[in-house]
Symmetry: C2
Subunit: 599 residues, 2 copies
């Protein structure tokens, strides 16, 4: 079993050296913090990850949740971890002091989430889901709701969920059918079925609080008639007692991965006694949910980056230890075998993983810094636009590339990678969900091209180009990086041309053709975004090398420059093929009649 | 659960219309056959696949083999299927009448294997492994060996295996350590450990016959000191009784997929009584094994194509039935939802799968036709060269693309694809082994660039180019295909330039640089090989459409042309990025010191 699931050196590099996260302490909200408190918090998180989470990675996979008559039994580590999260104040760590938060930057919170998710994604999912649900109550709920739910949720005693999907409704949320009937008594009667609800019911908590989308009787059809409700498993009566709220868990799914956390089917109102409490205004539910959806989507991408990270270190360790073969120039069969990390093809697969893992982590932190600055009111509109544009990239690219990255981790292990004695086959299974939940890659593609690139006369897209140009301008002045700066400049030009070509289709009203390949457009813009993050890291590394670092740091910084070069050599050229496709007027996927699939 | 795992219409199209397999009956060896007998044999195979194999697909996955004290209990379907294979003469169907064969063409045999593997890969593996092992005995074994083993193996009563891999030796076979000591009594005493031996021990057969590579005491180091042995689990003594041969199954692996077939650890000679029988001449073992390796490698690629096929049809069926969303132009939320197959992004993922599945199946049949012609002595050298060049492509491209193809099948299912109620997550797991066994993709890359492209002054490569040019010349004359003919011509030119550029490195003695990206070279040449097969299919389809076929056939043929166009639009442009990489003088994976991975 591998020993390392994240690199603390790299975390420090990204936070302190690339993004100077300590600069955030200049803002009053973060003023009590310093680089030292950030470090202490990270140290503690790393200890929890190392001691409580990583050791039970396989146990949670193998001893997966069991459903019996509506109850779901989960691994005992879940309760222990949730208690730890609650006692340490981790769930609301970014929230204000007055509700028990620690006012840490979003950037730091996300880095902690990355560490937890890398150590044990299934385990991390529980408090992460609670945090998302609690955030909705915190932002849009009434004072009474806050008083009723937040304390217990932040304490890790109550689970929170996001209950959107239904048996017939996933991507097409406007069609959801769960009903809410006004009773005039301060609550609605809920009726319907939700599926795929992560942590939707389990025995490690006393109660489960569902943040549920439903349709109030008589509401308009489509997305304009969706409201948000709090639907607890147990409601609290006037005497403060738990009353069963008619939310029945009808079963859990047997899944490819992510097996440590149950995904549940929930039946509301089988006994006509399921009460839901309206959050905010009727028919505004989807809007509320989507204000939190950015967080959830970044969380998915970050989780994928985290799983890919753990797989990368497992395969790196294996490649360093496993002896096989010789250099191509060595013909003597009696000469000793070498560690496989010395073979160029193994290095290629390691560098591919490293480029994805450290590139997407860097993008997540870039996005988080924008969020912190927007939250502090610095250049608010620009930062919000950048966030809007980057979210679909951050959601999808680590997930899509994470499939290939964890697959490369298997490949490095040879036949052993296919076997359960090594952890990589689990990472490969665990990561496969990330292109699916919280909006499929198709949904992200339509979001970025159909919404984000065009919104506000393309302002978000312009801001994105400006940010990259700033990095290019810096790199141009550095001898070692000038070539790559020029390559990225050309790539940005290519992106602009492809975008204009596609917007031309939209202008002609050819909406199907415009969006048909939006997943490929998303890949193109993602490759450029990650190249940008690598150039940023390379600038930091070159600068650091100029100041005579210690020997081990020299290797580290040079490794950063090599990995940047690798990404520019191996990943960036893919945009050539993508651009040909995206600029082509041929649209087979629109033109081909579905009957041509029959035979 | 899906209902369809292969398309019989497509099988007929490929065999009869594209490759005119019945033309093989002009050769005496196949003269007793006709299109009708081929059809009857295929019908019978399809019935076995439908009735015996496909229904137990999930059962074999879930009720996986159990090891106890050296014994391995497998699902009861294994014995039933092996009996059926034995009674029907399927294992040696391509062999001559005099040893109980039916003298069917290799091409037909491979198509049958495809049907079986698509229905249930784990189940198919058992007789397939027996066939490979029996083939070694048939080709290189003594008469006594043939008399001792073949009848029982062909009857499905004895299992055959290929025993190469050891705990420390996978890709680097020259280092294998299993020892054979000459006794002067007609056998060698074997000592050592083999791992990952598929079907290496199980209770559905009476005996297991291992075709095992080992090193005779005192033999030269490296590949020049490897010999081939028959090592049975039970040897037959003079009285015809079974005697335990000291081959102990020390355990089986818990695997990601391919769970219906055990992969075993075998310990030989723990009690100093494991007898091995030398096949052929000492120290020629690797050569014998590699003459059979082509068959095994094509088998892996074909198996991957088969699994991807079953996943494709499962996702096609789902996309046709599942309602969600509306056309982009429809804004009324009260309008009915449409089947998701109508969404361009779903069509894109279906077409991607179809292009891979039908393109790689076509390549497998192309290769098999060459094998049949070589076997008949027609243009023997040229066909052997073409086979040599195509084998690494056929081994690796369906395996590598099959990972993405089965992943697309999951993606089409949305969250359901991640769950065990649908079959696609199993195909995704089952196919992951195919880039690993019988030579990893890295080994295939080194084989094609370092050996096949350069051998005999590039003659195999020239033959390959000529074959493609023949197809291009046909397509040029067809109005609908002329554009694609030109694109493939340019792609072939690109391949020639890349190849020359790489050979330039080899000429300078830069062997590491020459082979560093051979996996990407393999991808480049594979994309072109599949484009060639698609152009061939499109030629056949256009020709058929000209002769006024039935309505359903019109859809089918047009579907072929659309899918060809899809491959040229979406897959072929990838060679642009690959060519940039392969022609670049930058070689990060050679230059980067391994210390730069430390942090």
């Amino acid at each position: 079993m591998a020993e390392k699931f994240v690199s603390r050196r790299n975390i420090q590099f990204i936070l302190d050296e690339v993004f100077n996260v300590q600069e955030l302490t200049q803002y009053p909200y973060y003023a009590d913090h310093s680089q030292e408190t950030f470090q202490m918090i990270l140290d503690t998180a790393y200890k929890i990850a190392t001691n409580l989470m990583f050791p039970v990675l396989k146990d949670l996979d193998r001893e997966s949740p069991e459903w019996t008559d509506g109850s779901v039994k989960v691994h005992s580590a879940v309760k222990q971890y949730l208690q730890e999260m609650g006692q340490g104040g981790w769930i609301q760590a970014d929230k204000p002091y007055d509700i028990g938060g620690q006012q840490i930057p979003i950037t730091l919170k996300q880095m902690i989430n990355y560490v937890f998710a890398a150590a044990n994604y299934s385990l991390f999912a529980y408090p992460s889901l609670t945090a998302g649900a609690a955030n909705l109550i915190y932002t849009f709920g009434s004072e009474e709701m806050k008083n009723t739910y937040l304390e217990k949720m932040y304490a890790g005693e109550w689970q929170g969920t996001m209950a959107l999907t239904e048996p017939d409704v996933g991507s097409s949320l406007g069609d959801l059918a769960t009903q809410a009937e006004e009773t005039g008594q301060g609550y609605y009667l809920m009726k319907g079925t939700k599926i795929f609800i992560s942590a939707g019911n389990h025995d490690a908590v006393e109660n489960v609080i569902h943040l549920m989308l439903a349709r109030i009787k008589g509401a308009p059809a489509g997305v304009k008639g969706i409201s948000l409700f709090v639907v607890p498993k147990y409601r609290i009566n006037d005497k403060g007692e738990y009353e069963y709220n008619d939310v029945f868990c009808g079963g859990i799914e047997h899944k490819l991965g992510y097996r440590g956390c149950p995904i549940c089917q929930l039946n509301m109102g089988e006994n006509k006694d399921c009460r839901g409490f309206l959050v905010g205004i009727p028919n505004q539910g989807l809007g509320y949910m989507f204000q939190m959806m950015n967080e959830a989507r970044v969380g998915v991408g970050l989780g994928a980056a985290a799983k890919a990270t753990a797989a990368y270190y497992a395969s790196l360790e294996y490649a360093q230890q496993r002896l096989q073969g010789r250099r191509l120039s060595v013909k003597d069969p009696n000469s000793p075998m070498i560690a496989i990390i010395n073979h160029p093809d193994i290095k290629r697969m390691l560098l591919f993983q490293r480029a994805i893992v450290e590139g997407t982590l860097s993008l997540a932190m870039q996005l988080s810094i924008y969020e912190d600055l927007a939250k502090m009111g610095v250049d608010h509109e620009r930062h919000e636009l950048l966030i809007d544009l980057l979210v679909p990239i951050m959601k999808s690219y680590p997930a899509e590339m994470g499939i290939l990255s964890t697959s490369a981790a298997i490949q490095i292990h040879g036949g052993y990678g296919f076997c359960g004695d090594f952890p990589v086959e689990q990472y490969y299974r665990d990561i496969r969900i990330d292109t699916l939940h919280e909006g499929t890659t198709c949904i992200q593609g339509q979001d970025i091209l159909g919404r984000k690139v065009v919104m506000k006369q393309g302002m978000a897209f312009t801001c994105f180009q400006n940010e990259i140009n700033n990095t290019i301008n810096q790199a141009e002045k550095i001898r070692e990086l000038a070539d790559m700066a020029e390559i990225l400049q050309n790539a940005l030009q290519c992106l602009a041309e492809v975008t204009n070509s596609l917007l031309g289709l939209a202008a002609q009203g050819k909406n199907d053709e415009f969006l048909a390949d939006s997943v490929l457009y998303l890949e193109l813009i993602s490759i450029i975004a990650i190249a940008w993050q690598w150039l940023k890291q390379a600038i930091t590394a070159v600068t650091a090398l100029a100041s005579q670092p210690a020997d081990l740091d020299i290797d580290f910084y040079q490794g950063k420059i090599y990995t940047c070069k690798f990404y520019f050599d191996y990943a960036l050229p893919k945009i050539e093929g993508l651009a040909i496709r995206l600029k082509s007027s041929s649209k087979v996927t629109v033109d081909m009649p579905v009957a041509c699939f029959e035979d």
